[in-house]
């Protein structure tokens, strides 16, 4: 079953590459607009061999991890406060919903003005793009906790930060994971978008270099790398974490 699924996937991607090569061989568009898979592959290999690709990936990932960590920490804190203190929800809660609708790249001009062309600016954009997804899911998770869990814990003497760490966070965790997953997706978009506009190292920067050099195959190569990292993190980090939590919590 599992091998069958894998072979289907491989066959699909092989088919895409064959079709792609076929279109390229038909010479409909010039090579500098529509590169062949071989050219893109060569660009990837070149990036690997001179190390620039690894450096780009490492830079982007490092910014992502810092930004996402800030978003997860801050989002959980804010979400828990919103769920537990009605006044916070009525005031900050409405603002959060509004801020959530701002695309993360729209924060770039502000980030440049505040932080200059620096890592901090890109991390700011990454974090702010992800924080509200974490906040909203944490809020929903805490709101959906069976009230008897909280009552039982208070009855047994838990209060304040102990109640938060031993009950609120674990009980809301299945929802929070959804927030982390959405947050990661927003953060990844945010970090690449910001790097494009900041033009300051990272995969987004390499993408922009491709455009400046009119190197279509480099552009496509970078897009494939960005997508590949997305698939890997989604499938290996978050899917695994989600499965583990869902099983342990008895939700599946």
């Amino acid at each position: 079953m599992k091998a069958n699924l894998l072979s289907k996937k491989i066959a699909f991607y092989v088919l895409i590459i064959i079709v792609w090569q076929g279109i390229d061989s038909a010479e409909i568009w010039p090579d500098n607009m529509f590169p062949s898979p071989v050219e893109v592959g060569e660009d990837l290999l070149y990036g690997l061999s001179d190390g620039s690709l690894f450096y780009g990936i490492a830079t982007s990932m490092w910014r992502l991890i810092i930004g996402l960590s800030i978003a997860i920490g801050g989002g959980m804190l804010l979400g828990i406060y919103m769920a537990r203190v009605e006044t916070v929800n009525q005031t900050i809660g409405s603002l959060v919903l509004g801020l959530q609708s701002i695309p993360s790249v729209a924060w770039v001009p502000l980030a440049i003005l505040w932080f200059g062309l620096s890592d901090s600016g890109i991390i700011f954009v990454t974090a702010i793009g992800a924080i509200f997804a974490v906040t909203i899911n944490t809020y929903t998770g805490v709101k959906n906790i069976d009230p008897s869990f909280i009552e039982a814990a208070r009855n047994m003497g838990a209060k304040g930060s102990k109640l938060v760490t031993t009950i609120l966070i674990p009980a809301a965790f299945p929802y929070m994971i959804t927030g982390f997953k959405q947050g990661w997706a927003f953060a990844w978009r945010g970090v690449i978008g910001a790097e494009l506009l900041f033009s300051f190292l990272g995969l987004g920067f390499l993408l922009n270099v491709g455009r400046q050099l009119n190197d279509v195959s480099q552009v496509i190569a970078m897009m494939i790398v960005i997508m590949g990292i997305g698939i890997l993190i989604d499938g290996f980090v978050f899917k695994k974490l989600e499965d583990k939590v869902m099983t342990k919590w008895g939700l599946r």
Binding site: D146, S148, F149, E151, A152, A153, R154, N155, M156, G157, A158, K162, T166, I167, P170, A171, F173, K248, W249, G250
Partner: protein, 251 residues
């Protein structure tokens, strides 16, 4: 010690935006080591009364005293066993049972010793590493009772803990509950809508009236233990409880 006194407890519900008097001045004293069952028509507020004793809800008037001291908040001196158990699904059986001890800052070794004693008592020793979703409803309630007992509370408050059980499991737990009471000498207040259950468990049964409810009748059940539901000598007590319940339909 565990003498709990409820003095003139009054509580209003919100019903369609209007206040509805549920508890109309409950007076009930439960002495240390007594096993009191509370029965009453559905909607009379007996569970609410229990929650007020636990400090999980505030009465609109009246006060609750534990060994003469006025109670304001909830706390581990009165542990509640919830109808559905309220077990934490992210913890194993053992971690559930040790939860309150951990909150109290008791060191690990000591926690294990205490929890082991009660896991054995509730016949859960083989399930200490299971998660609650792997357990039957009856096992879950055993865990909930063990979790309450480890806290060594002055008073054990039980809110229809056997309502969702099949009759075989319930009969078993009814006998075990009496043995636990005899062994631990705890003060127990047990809310139920099941009259035979009240007659089997209670050394006294307090019968609540329809709302606004008051304690309509308090019936001592002076009979040897352990009792079983099919014992015909309990029938006369059950009849007395039932007739007290019947004489008081909605006004």
């Amino acid at each position: 010690m565990g003498k709990i006194e409820a003095k003139n407890i009054i509580k209003y519900f919100q019903h369609d935006g209007k206040p509805l008097k549920a508890l109309g001045g409950i007076n009930l004293t439960v002495n240390d080591g007594e096993f009191v069952c509370i029965v009453g028509p559905s909607g009379c507020g007996k569970s609410t009364f229990l929650r007020i004793l636990a400090g999980l809800e505030k009465p609109d008037d009246g006060e609750v005293l534990l060994d003469g001291k006025k109670l304001v908040n909830t706390g581990p001196d009165r542990i509640m066993v919830f109808q559905e158990g309220a077990l934490f699904p992210w913890l194993t059986v053992q971690d559930n049972v040790e939860y309150g001890l951990k909150v109290a800052g008791i060191p690990k070794n000591e926690r294990h010793d205490i929890s082991k004693r009660y896991l054995d008592m509730m016949q859960l020793s083989q399930f200490e590493n299971s998660y609650t979703y792997q357990l039957s409803t009856g096992m879950k309630q055993r865990v909930a009772i063990a979790r309450a007992l480890v806290m060594d509370p002055d008073v054990l408050l039980m809110d229809e803990p056997f309502a969702a059980l099949d009759s075989q499991t319930r009969d078993l737990l009814l006998v075990e509950m009496q043995m636990i009471w005899q062994k631990t000498k705890k003060t127990i207040i047990f809310v139920t809508h099941n009259v035979p259950e009240a007659a089997v468990l209670g050394s006294r049964v307090a019968i609540f009236s329809h709302r606004p409810s008051v304690v309509k009748k308090s019936l001592d059940i002076d009979y040897k233990r352990p009792r079983v539901t099919e014992d015909e000598n309990l029938a006369k007590f059950e009849k007395e409880i039932l007739s007290a319940l019947r004489h008081q339909g909605p006004k």
